[in-house]
């Protein structure tokens, strides 16, 4: 039996349609990840009226209603699993810590690594489903010669989501199917329409699900219960104080921040949590070649430490980014990456994913 992770969106719904058409025995699973009614420590204590307003709100972030409708339409068994504790521990809390440490986190990747492909897979196994399918645009293939499971970009390069999946282990890949891997988004919508899915024209959500209508900065403050007053200095590259910031978690490396003395636009170059300080400078100084990686995961190769000589590959350092050639090697127990040419705004907390054409070699988190 295959468990399909259903979010209520067109993609995962269509994944279910395709598997069902192919004659698989499937079960739809949605994850209850976050309670919208929950009050965060830093939110003002609510009046009764606010409490009542809150109680009209849905408690789920994923559109579980839509997923349920789709499952009913397809006449497949469907269940909602509660993974709130797991989600909070492995996604929300690290997200907030990462911002407070001056990084720019990628919660969707954490959610994939820990919630979908770990906890959900575990729960699926408990109910007798040994394989999990999702609506990601990516492909999995077993490579006989290497004796390894490979992760490849989705065939539709514009929709490809392999970047978000670099953390999958061999074990996880062996139990995963991506039914949309060979399709483009318009093809998927067409299949959804053809199958009469109630959600075929539903727009995609771009927001980080648990943050919802708040700003990230507000969310971080409310979750951590730290209040607004986290201001500190903005300094230039000479160390002169040139302004005040409203909390380092509200900034991202590369973001534009005012105009310098010479009339040139200034950008956030570095976030220094220990000093509660932000360094700004000109665009030209944002470009670097080299960075260090933490928590690397290898897919197409066994381990970087086993390689003789540096690994040559193309490296993608954020979601919308054209991969650029680089060398990757181990030095003093640390994975180092060096682009052939300097790149703008290499941002701590973001993922760096290594490719050989469409094949994901591995990836990790940008440390510094």
């Amino acid at each position: 039996m295959i468990a399909v992770a259903m979010s209520g969106g067109v993609d995962s719904s269509t994944a279910a349609v395709l598997l069902k058409e192919q004659g698989y025995d499937i079960v739809g699973l949605s994850m209850q990840l976050w309670n919208q009614r929950r009050r965060l420590p830093g939110e003002e204590s609510a009046s009764e009226e606010q409490e009542l307003k809150r109680s009209g709100r849905c408690c789920s972030i994923d559109d579980i209603w839509d997923a349920r409708r789709v499952a009913a339409h397809l006449d497949i068994p469907y269940y909602v699993l509660n993974l709130e504790d797991e989600f909070e521990k492995t996604v929300v809390s690290p997200f907030v810590k990462s911002y407070l440490a001056g990084e720019t986190p990628s919660p969707c990747i954490l959610c994939n690594n820990y919630v979908k492909f770990h906890h959900l897979v575990e729960r699926a196994a408990q109910i007798g489903a040994d394989t999990v399918a999702t609506g990601h645009y990516a492909r999995v293939r077993y490579d006989e010669t290497r004796g390894r499971w490979l992760l490849l970009r989705g065939k539709d390069g514009r929709k490809d989501q392999s970047y978000f999946l670099f953390g999958l282990t061999q074990e996880q890949l062996s139990k995963t199917v991506f039914p949309l891997g060979e399709l483009s988004k318009p093809e998927v919508r067409e299949i959804a329409r053809g199958a009469g899915l109630p959600t075929f024209d539903k727009p995609e959500s771009q927001e980080i699900c648990f943050v919802q209508s708040r700003s990230y900065g507000d969310f971080v403050e409310q979750y951590a219960g730290i209040g607004h007053d986290k201001s500190g200095s903005i300094v230039n590259t000479q160390g002169d104080v040139v302004g005040e910031h409203s909390g380092i978690h509200r900034y991202t490396v590369g973001q534009r921040k005012g105009i310098g003395a010479a009339g040139k636009p200034q950008y956030v170059m570095q976030i220094e949590p220990q000093l509660n300080q932000i360094v700004i400078g000109e665009d030209a100084r944002l470009h670097r070649k080299r960075f260090a990686l933490r928590d690397a995961n290898w897919i197409a190769i066994e381990d970087i430490a086993e390689m003789d000589g540096p690994l040559r590959c193309d490296v993608q350092i954020r979601n919308r980014f054209e991969p650029r050639p680089a060398a990757v090697w181990m030095e003093n127990g640390e994975v180092l990456v060096e682009f052939d040419a300097p790149q703008r705004a290499i941002t701590p907390g973001q993922a760096a994913v290594f490719y050989w054409d469409d094949v994901v070699v591995g990836g990790g988190w940008i440390k510094s």
Partner: protein
């Protein structure tokens, strides 16, 4: 796929005779019972018949039955109605820690409004000690509300004893009888309750109908005001079809209660004995207490209730678990917590509840499939090491 329904404490299948009775209302007897004309009178007299059936089921007078939209409304009506009507006398309420949410959340809401609530604990077997109710009494106590039978573990509370205590103290006594009615003999006179809640869909009637027994002379503020229906106790044009179905279900429950429940108890015991012999590390919650004949609540160590329920459902068997994701979050049931279970234990609990329509084949099918499911879950559990 074979479908076996063992979740009768959640709701029960509607009996065909109930459906037939309701159909006549939906198709022919559509009149408004308040109308003067033939159509109205006919509907009115059908409701009167239904009221008689419901009254007889619990040994009440017909004039003491107020139809409501179900058990939840009956509970709210009883508790809020007394709280309002007696607030000049006092603002103290006594209840237990294992009430249904309809009572629990209503009492919590009253706490927010300035009432004081004493939450009586239960024994590890899930039974309220009547003497602790006596000790909780205060001069300003206006209401005792203790359920008759618990919906999760099926334990039956000493209502008669508490009834005597309430009578002596001259305090109003409400009991939520949603689970007990139709499963054990209920005599509101013997129980000495002033208020007693019943729900139609737990006794093979339709959903959205229920009743509150209101002893003659009880002063109760209505929840719903309007046209003064139900002797001014509950306004709103009656849910005629629902009430007629409820009446038919009550009639049938009374006629066959003794024989049905003897058979149900036998099947439940068969189920419990077989599961205990085929699955190691299971316990029956409330096993040593007086229990409903239809309910068994088992705790399966080293297995998640959610995984058990889903796996069983995929095999066609409908049951429920003690950690309801009712409000969206995975909270261990307050009932299992009250009988001293840890959250982990509560998450591994399974409630199987039978009804008069459950067959021996149904039970045998569950005995056949459950052990394999438990084994799979345990094989995947890092905590389970076979001894």
């Amino acid at each position: 796929m074979r479908r076996v329904y063992l979740d009768s404490n959640a709701t029960t299948p509607v009996r065909p005779e109930v459906v037939a009775a309701m159909m006549s209302v939906l198709t022919e007897h559509f009149g408004n019972p308040s109308s003067i004309h033939w159509f109205g009178q006919h509907a009115k007299s059908m409701i009167d018949d239904a009221r008689q059936h419901v009254a007889r089921l619990i040994n009440a007078e017909v004039s003491e039955i107020v139809f409501t939209s179900g058990g939840t409304e009956a509970d709210n009506f009883a508790i809020r109605g007394i709280a309002e009507s007696q607030k000049a006398k006092g603002r103290h309420i006594i209840t237990s820690k294992i009430e249904h949410h309809a009572v629990l959340h209503t009492c919590q809401d009253l706490e927010k409004q300035g009432y004081e609530v004493t939450w009586i604990p239960v024994s590890r077997d899930g039974v309220v000690d009547a003497s602790s109710v006596r000790r909780a009494l205060r001069p300003d106590t206006i209401l005792i509300t203790i359920m008759h039978a618990n919906n999760e573990i099926g334990t039956v509370q000493p209502i008669e004893e508490i009834g005597r205590i309430a009578e002596e103290a001259d305090v109003y006594f409400h009991s939520d009888g949603v689970q007990s009615t139709g499963k054990i003999q209920v005599d509101v006179r013997k129980l000495k309750v002033d208020l007693y809640s019943i729900s139609s869909h737990k006794i093979h009637g339709p959903k959205g109908a229920g009743a509150l027994f209101v002893r003659k002379g009880t002063i109760l503020k209505p929840l719903l005001t309007g046209g003064g229906h139900e002797r001014n106790r509950r306004s709103g044009t009656e849910n005629v079809a629902g009430i007629i179905g409820f009446g038919q279900a009550a009639k049938m429950a009374r006629e066959s209660l003794t024989s049905d429940m003897a058979r149900v108890a036998e099947l439940r015991d068969l189920l419990e004995t077989a599961l205990k012999s085929r699955i190691e590390f299971i316990q029956v919650n409330g096993e040593n207490a007086p229990r409903l004949p239809n309910t068994t609540n088992i705790m399966v160590d080293y297995a998640e209730g959610e995984g058990l329920v889903i796996s069983l459902d995929l095999k066609g068997v409908a049951v429920s678990t003690g950690s309801a994701c009712s409000s969206g979050s995975m909270e261990p049931s307050h009932v299992l917590t009250a009988i001293g279970k840890t959250p982990d234990e509560a998450h591994g609990s399974l409630r199987l509840s039978l009804s008069a329509l459950t067959t021996r084949e149904d039970v045998e099918y569950v005995i056949e499939v459950l052990p394999g499911i438990v084994e799979r879950l345990r094989d995947l559990s890092p905590y389970y090491k076979k001894v």
